[in-house]
């Protein structure tokens, strides 16, 4: 089997268009995960023991079961109860929830790394819990979380091909479709691999640079 450049050029526009969809899926999923993850992390720090235990167990469950199965679950269970979700919506819910549970662990580590004296100072200053979190604790918990958050940003990007199983028109889906139409799998699948390498390798470096920048900005060496 020979590499066919003509075919490569022919399918390139479609692959690049699908790359945009992949990036969008990763971005939207990540945005959901960042917000929801914080909620999951904070829910485990309330004084309500029952809530903490339930959220902890839910996070464990989501973290230790396969994302691809969760995607199927979200997509197919809705219609069974009369709720029809489009592939995009179901995919974003599943991937957002999955990574929210990962990010909640990152946040938890970050929050726990804030020295105890900071909490005591907030109590001494009579700050409300909301003010304590948003003005004192979270800003300090962020720098140690940046590395973990960045890794999961690359992670979510690399997991987007799984969305193709329910028909989200991202890169892998386009490659499958092109392969099926032309009976040529070499070029589409190789392009997918190359695109992933070209995006994820530089972003790992960018994330390290960003982490150093955040630390410098906050005067933490």
């Amino acid at each position: 089997m020979q590499w066919n450049w003509e075919f490569t050029y022919e399918i390139m526009p479609r692959m690049l268009w699908a790359t945009l969809n992949t990036l969008m899926a990763a971005g939207v999923g990540y945005a959901i995960a960042v917000v929801l993850g914080l909620a999951l992390a904070l829910a485990q720090r309330t004084p309500y023991r029952g809530l903490t235990l339930v959220v902890r167990e839910v996070v464990e469950f989501i973290r230790s079961t396969p994302l691809v199965l969760q995607i199927f679950f979200v997509y197919y269970v809705g219609p069974q109860y009369g709720l029809n979700l489009s592939p995009w919506v179901a995919g974003m819910i599943a991937i957002g929830l999955h990574y929210a549970s990962y990010l909640s662990e990152v946040y938890r580590g970050g929050i726990e790394s804030v020295p105890k004296g900071q909490w005591e100072a907030c109590i001494a200053l009579n700050m409300t819990p909301v003010k304590t979190y948003f003005r004192v604790i979270i800003p300090q918990a962020l720098p140690p979380s940046v590395a973990g958050m960045g890794n999961y940003l690359v992670g979510i990007f690399k997991d987007t091909p799984m969305l193709s199983v329910i028909g989200v028109a991202e890169l892998m889906h386009a490659a499958n479709a092109i392969g099926g139409q032309h009976y040529r799998y070499l070029e589409p699948y190789t392009i997918v691999g190359v695109v992933f390498l070209m995006i994820s390798l530089p972003s790992a470096g960018l994330i390290r640079a960003f982490e150093a920048w955040v630390r410098r900005k906050l005067g933490m060496r």
Binding site: M1, E60, F61, L67, L69, Y81, G179, T190
Partner: protein, 221 residues
């Protein structure tokens, strides 16, 4: 159909699927551990060729996603005359992918062994191989076991993807049952719970036990 009836009718197929998943998991884990050890040590090598091989292996498998690698192995390699059956392709792809992540853990753990240990074993005129085997690796093992626990769970989740190349594992059975019954919540929910049981009640306790056993062997228990 009530849930007990559902289980009575399809329980056997879930067990068959779970056994295939367990086999995929064990074979992929064995391959991942071997690849991680070889590539992790090679990345620290002074020889630029072996170091280069390790870097390419690690960056390639970490930079593209598992699903892409799996499809590439399954659809593209046969075009070059290399045909493996789908079962082999499945665990090889998962093992190679997670082995790349493991190699970084191995490298980090070897580097975390205190310098004095290297110097002492050098002073005792141990050969590099003996030094690695008797002094450095046992200590590195203890250091890297906790992160390996997470990686092994990732590996279990990774094996769910082999269903997409029609290996009849747990997720494959869940999809089949969903297709024939339209009971999506039961079909996918049962599979999710089985994965959770694997992760939480078999793999995690085993890794904890291994951590304790290794620490005891080094007299740190």
């Amino acid at each position: 159909m009530s849930y007990p009836e559902f289980l009575a009718q399809y329980g056997g197929r879930y067990i068959d699927g779970a056994l295939i998943t367990a086999a995929q998991f064990l074979l992929a884990a064995a391959l991942a551990v071997v690849m991680a050890l070889i590539m992790g040590v090679m990345k620290l090598s002074a020889n630029p060729v072996s170091k280069g091989i390790a870097v390419v292996y690690i960056e390639f498998f970490r930079g593209t996603s598992l699903l892409v690698q799996l499809f590439w192995l399954f659809y593209v390699l046969p075009l070059f005359g290399l045909t493996f059956d789908k079962f082999t392709t499945g665990f090889v792809a998962v093992g190679l992918n997670l082995g790349a992540y493991g190699a970084e853990l191995v490298r980090g753990a070897i580097q975390s062994v205190p310098k004095g240990q290297w110097e002492a074993s050098y002073a005792l005129s141990m050969s590099p191989a003996t030094q690695m085997r008797r002094i450095i690796l046992p200590q590195a093992f203890v250091a890297m076991l906790p992160p390996w626990g997470n990686l092994i769970i990732e590996l279990l989740k990774g094996t769910a993807l082999v269903a997409l190349i029609a290996v009849s594992d747990l997720m494959f059975e869940a999809r089949q049952i969903n297709g024939s019954t339209y009971l999506s919540a039961q079909a996918f929910g049962t599979a999710l719970i089985i994965y959770y049981i694997f992760a939480r009640f078999l793999i995690t306790p085993f890794m904890r036990w291994l951590e304790r056993a290794m620490a005891r062997r080094l007299g740190r228990g």
